[in-house]
Amino acid sequence: MRPFTLPAPVTAIFRASVLAVLAFIIFGPLLNLLLWAFAERWYFPSKLPLEFGLTYWYRVFQPRGNALASLGASVWIALLTVAFSLLVAIPAGYALARMKLPWRGAILLLFLLPQAVPNLPVYVNIAQVFYQIGLNGTILGVVLVHASHGLVLAVWIASAAFASIDVSLEEASRNLGASAWTCFRTVTLPLATPGLIASAIFVFLESLDEFTGTYFVGVPDVTTLPLLMFNATMGGNYQISSITALLLLIPSIGFMLVVERFLKADVLAMVGR
């Protein structure tokens, strides 16, 4: 017996309206952001800005404005975080994926911790320690905090990337006489590169968007774009906070459009195994 189905036009309308509602839920808030970014005067009871303009864009980008400096600081910190994380995560991921490790369970647990445990106590106490050794309010301090969290993500994704490479390819290379390092360099690493790039992108984005850790460790000398945006929002400067939010979104959305090439479904499926 055929299951009961609704007539085709009804399902089509239903499908379209669900998608429309979803689009509103997803893009509505973002549209609001755009409105505020270009508003000059907007107060109740008008539903839309009374005046549009670019005055606040000038204010944001003026030489004395903090926005450009914060953007620079954010990007620089994110790049350093990625470099540091990858440098440490690639060997670790390879070891986890391919090699026999003593205390493997304990090591896995240790790497699980930063993702399984709220980071707030960590940030709060790191800030205290950094105060005493003079790392508070420095770029290096912020990079270390970002890296300690991003590292774990990088290790997980890297190990998944390495694990998804067919072992026989490496074995073939070794059988042909390549040393372990040559095999890694010419066979394993290139094959894992898409996954590694994906992990680099995630770490970069996580660092760029990171707020809580920087709130405790970076303030007041290091201002990243999220902190600037937060301060502008709390100060009621919605135009400025919307513009800085847009700035923050550009690398994120840009990567989103690009990352699909690098994140294959099977790599994603292996995350967390």
């Binding site: 055929r2 998608l19 979803l22 997803i26 808030p29 973002l30 609001n32 952001l33 109740f44 009871p45 539903k47 440490v88 995560a89 060997p91 670790a92 390879y94 070891a95 986890l96 090699m99 003593p102 240790l110 790497f111 699980l112 930063p114 993702q115 399984a116 445990v117 709220p118 707030l120 106590p121 960590v122 940030y123 709060v124 106490n125 890296a147 300690s148 590292l151 774990v152 968007d209 707020f211 809580t212 709130y215 405790f216 999220p226 937060f230 929002t233 709390m234 939010a245 979104l249 994120s252 959305i253 990567f255 989103m256 994140l263 479904a265 099977d266 994603l268 499926a269 967390g272 195994r273």
Partner: protein, 272 residues
């Protein structure tokens, strides 16, 4: 050799994660004279018990909603009939994924206000009366912001896992006349349960640590414990009570971790 490769990563995690965490425990329990005391926890409970319950309720509710949304979207992406709808959905759902929590908090603040865009649209389309418009800038706003931001992440994981399933089972079931909902619940979901759990636990723990969203949407009591921690430190310099609160939220996250560890050990015993 293997150990040598992994030691740098271990060192970073130990120094910059485990050590401060241990410090947190020490400071939370350390009394004025140096002995062990529970007075900080007592004060934390005294002042913030409502907020602790509130935090747990918000995060649990958000996690459940995220699960529901992720299953629905990923399910449709895998089993959906209309190819164009699937393509649109696939493009649509991942946008919030790349928006940081702090921006999500900011956009929700103006979107969910009593005279914000959501209410304007609801009133404009005749769905609600102008006088009954409510501001959603309370616990509901926090839940909405969390689900909005995290659901795409779990959906991404789930969709990936579902995509790598063998299609024979699904096709066999469809050929036998099973409705798609049935296929989703009986065949697909059991196989991706592990990934779903990973995604939900990660989200649960992440949400427990978010400061920006509650600070921007609803910093007044009742609010999430993260706001209280920041307040204790920034305004009073009160590290002991702040750390006590952190330990308590650690305990909350242990609920999530317990779920994950149970699954992980079951999976590994099944594999051996």
């Amino acid at each position: 050799m293997a150990l040598a490769l992994i030691v740098p990563a271990l060192a970073v995690v130990t120094l910059f994660f485990v050590a401060p965490l241990a410090m947190s425990v020490v400071v939370a329990f350390r009394g004025k004279g140096g002995g062990i005391t529970l007075e900080h926890f007592a004060k934390a409970f005294d002042y913030y018990s409502t907020d602790l319950l509130f935090t747990l309720a918000i995060v649990v509710l958000s996690t459940l909603l995220i699960g529901g949304v992720a299953i629905a979207i990923a399910g449709y992406l895998t089993l959906g009939g209309n190819a164009r709808a699937v393509a649109i959905l696939r493009w649509l759902y991942r946008w919030p994924l790349f928006i940081p929590f702090v921006v999500a908090g900011q956009v929700m603040r103006t979107f969910l206000a009593k005279n914000g865009m959501l209410n304007h649209v609801l009133i404009g389309s005749g769905l609600i009366e102008p006088l009954s418009a409510q501001s959603l800038l309370d616990w509901r706003g926090i839940v909405i912001a969390f689900v909005w931001k995290q659901a795409p992440f779990v959906t991404l994981l789930l969709a990936g896992a579902m995509a790598s399933l063998e299609t024979q089972h699904i096709e066999a079931a469809r050929n036998l006349g099973a409705r798609r909902l049935r296929v989703l619940v009986d065949i697909v979901l059991p196989q991706v349960r592990g990934t779903l759990l990973v995604g939900l636990v990660l989200s649960f723990v992440t949400m427990l640590s978010v400061l920006s969203v509650p600070l921007m949407i609803n910093p007044n009591s009742p609010t999430m414990v993260t706001v209280d921690v920041a307040y204790r430190i920034n305004t009073h310099g009160d590290y002991p009570v702040a750390n006590a609160l952190c330990i308590l939220s650690l305990a909350l996250s242990a609920i999530g971790a317990a779920f994950y560890l149970r699954h992980a050990s079951r999976a590994s015993t099944a594999a051996t």
